[in-house]
């Protein structure tokens, strides 16, 4: 049982980062449907830089810090650049957000597959994965077994939770967060107040994409132990679903991500499930998301609404 929960939380980190990034983006009023593509890009460039680093050592000593730091930086920068592309298209050129997002996903998945096909030895990923999954050295006794639930993760899970908590705090309690939310709710009013709508949308989208890209990287490095798999796109759509599930709150998203992680890996942990039941279980996260979406719209509570300006481009001279 404890193994199952740990697995759920580990996988949850991927969803958590993806959804936190998307929440920040959506709070600014940009509905970025390119998140699956962005997560792929993050994973691809992170892994690519890792393999470049490991092969450049020629079998020499791997510096654990660099082995973690280089891919994280590369993943963040590459995904943030994808976010920059999205913001340029939607904020500056005022292109339709849905269409741009879907194009970004197509582009991102293609780019990812290409980058990975250029990697000479994918085995370097699993070499580097060791450092992503280093656990806290802690001697468990009979009575402290339950501590495993909190302590047996690599740095990635803690990083994901910290990022989510920090973003929740920033969004809710700080001036920057207030401005960001006002830009997403009513850009015209924010603009009248002297808030730079363009800058906030650019910033939120780029940082949000960077965070989401880390989710893609951690999925490969932590959950899959460096084994490359083309499942990141599906993870990305689940992360988008999680945004709704968490009603646009990163702190709720922490719990939500663990639930999504549990639902995702449940079929592998329950003995004697048939193919059919596996399929039905895999359907659950989406069904739950729809139910949440419906309930929030029926309950009609203002604080559970999507940002009012979500998906709409702002143009000052338009009425």
């Amino acid at each position: 049982m404890i193994g199952f929960l740990i697995g759920a939380i580990r996988l949850g980190a991927t969803f958590l980062l993806g959804s936190t990034g998307e929440i920040i983006t959506q709070k600014s009023g940009n509905l970025n449907l390119g998140i699956p593509g962005v997560m792929c890009i993050g994973a691809a460039f992170g892994c690519f830089s890792e393999s470049v680093y490991v092969t450049s050592l020629n079998g020499g000593e791997i510096n654990p810090f660099l082995a973690v730091f280089i891919p994280i930086m590369c993943a963040f920068i590459a995904s943030a650049l994808a976010g920059l592309l999205f913001s340029f298209m939607t904020v500056t050129l005022r292109a339709n957000q849905n269409v741009t997002g879907l194009a970004l996903t197509t582009f991102g998945v293609g780019l990812t597959n290409y980058v990975i096909s250029q990697v000479k030895s994918t085995s370097t990923f699993s070499v580097a994965s060791k450092y992503f999954t280093t656990l806290i050295p802690f001697k468990y006794t009979e009575n402290t077994q339950w501590l495993k639930l909190f302590l047996s993760y690599g740095p990635t899970v803690y990083l994901a939770i910290i990022i989510a908590l920090v973003s929740a705090f920033l969004l809710k309690k700080t001036r920057i967060g207030l401005h960001l939310r006002s830009v997403g709710e009513n850009p015209a009013t924010a603009d009248a107040m002297g808030i730079n709508v363009t800058a906030y949308r650019y910033g939120a989208t780029c940082i949000g994409c960077g965070i989401a890209g880390l989710g893609g990287l951690f999925f490969i490095m932590d959950s899959l132990y460096g084994y490359w798999e083309y499942a990141i796109e599906a993870m990305g759509w689940l992360a988008v679903a999680l945004v709704i599930f968490a009603v646009w709150r990163p702190n709720v998203s922490i719990i939500g991500s663990f639930i999504f992680g549990a639902l995702y890996i449940a079929p592998n942990h329950i003995k004697g499930v048939t193919f059919v039941q596996t399929g039905l279980l895999k359907m659950l996260p989406y069904v739950v998301t729809i139910v949440v979406l419906i309930i929030t719209s029926i309950r009609n509570k203002k604080e559970n609404y999507p940002p009012a300006g979500l998906g709409l481009n702002y143009y000052r001279e338009e009425r």
């Binding site: 582009f107 359907m283 338009e318």
Partner: protein, 368 residues
């Protein structure tokens, strides 16, 4: 105070909405064509770097990949038919500003219904009867899949973009489940049921599909442009308040339009399963539901232009995959190229809708 006061100058340029004095349509077309030429040039540079071949050679290979043989031409037509069919389906909803990104799922359940008919009653009823049931089942399945988000949107204003997106994945899992039930001895792959497919006209396997979609295109054009319902759709899309004011029931229009949208998606599923593959898997629609959104949007929701945009995307796809096969480079380049071209075309709309007004030099550039 004087210290903080900056010399105010007009910015280098500012952006003006063209609004009423929109540029003539031929200029718009020219801008779009220029964007495509630019995009193709960028793609050519990438291809040349990767293959180190002459770019003209590469474009020749692309044409060869799309039109080279009789078989490739039919393949091109078939792919256009499927993509166009789904694009037609999403169009009325988009015109109404209802972001139905669930076409993938709606087409997939349409296909699933077709496959179910073939699997359960194929051979037990006369072939003509089976085809009628298949057509009805696929249309109803697609329509129901679209109806669910439409009802919630109409009654409670539930966000349709996210709702329809989720419905896609439920449809995919549903197909996965049924394929596992139907597949023999747990192989998880369904063997083709070719004997129960749609009839083949002459010896042209895809001709019927092309005819169906051609008829649908004309039908959709007339529906949107000349029917009362088409008019209501565009009024709701322009302004819901106006629609309410002139007595259009917005709820009714939303639900009715989504039924049409879903039904046409169902037909796309029928074409894919009944008329092409005689088989179904989770990848049957293969992302066409998402591509269709771009096809429809690029054509400005005009069914006739959609033939062009669908042709362009399919041509690029088939051509680029032929290039990658001939020059032995990774086939993922196709997706990257299509992405680049889409970005260019999406971006060029800006120059059609807006005008850059540069600061007039010499007049001192004082801000008003």
């Amino acid at each position: 105070m004087n210290k903080t006061e900056k010399i105010k100058r007009e910015p280098l340029f500012h952006i003006v909405n063209r609004g009423r004095d929109a540029i003539p349509w031929w200029k718009g077309m020219l801008i779009r064509a220029a964007a495509i030429v630019f995009a193709l040039a960028v793609c050519a540079v990438i291809m040349v770097i990767l293959t180190k071949e002459n770019p003209i050679e590469i474009y020749k290979t692309m044409f060869d990949g799309a039109f080279g043989t009789e078989r490739r031409k039919w393949k091109l037509l078939q792919e256009i038919a499927v993509l166009l069919c789904i694009s037609l389906a999403v169009t009325p909803a988009f015109k109404m500003q209802f972001w139905n990104i669930g076409a993938e799922g709606q087409a997939l359940v349409g296909g699933l219904a077709t496959a179910a008919c073939m699997f359960y009653i194929g051979g037990k009823v006369p072939q003509g009867m089976l085809i009628i049931i298949m057509v009805a089942a696929s249309i109803v399945a697609g329509a129901i899949w679209a109806l669910i988000p439409a009802v919630f949107k109409a009654v409670w204003n539930t966000n349709e973009t996210l709702f329809t997106l989720m419905m896609n994945y439920i449809a995919i899992q549903l197909v996965d489940v049924f394929v596992n039930i139907w597949a023999k001895n747990g192989s998880a792959v369904l063997s083709p049921m070719s004997e129960y497919g749609l009839p083949i006209i002459g010896d042209k396997k895809y001709l019927l599909n092309v005819i169906i979609v051609a008829a649908l295109t004309v039908g959709m054009y007339i529906y949107l442009k000349y029917s009362k319902q088409g008019y209501e759709i565009s009024v709701v899309g322009q302004s819901e308040k106006t629609a309410k004011y002139i007595g259009i029931s917005v709820k009714k229009v939303i639900i009715r339009t989504m039924l049409v949208s879903g039904a046409v998606c169902g037909i796309a599923g029928l074409i894919l399963v009944g008329g092409t593959n005689h088989n179904i898997n989770t990848n049957t629609v293969g992302g066409n539901g998402f591509t269709a959104i771009m096809v429809s949007w690029l054509a400005k929701f005009n069914p006739i232009f959609m033939i062009l945009t669908a042709f362009m995307i399919v041509f690029l796809d088939l051509g680029a995959s032929h290039v990658t096969a001939m020059f032995r480079i990774s086939s993922d380049i196709c997706d990257i190229m299509i992405g680049i071209i889409l970005f260019f075309i999406i971006g060029c709309e800006f120059f059609i809708n807006y005008k850059l007004k540069f600061r007039s030099f010499g007049k001192g550039g004082e801000a008003k």
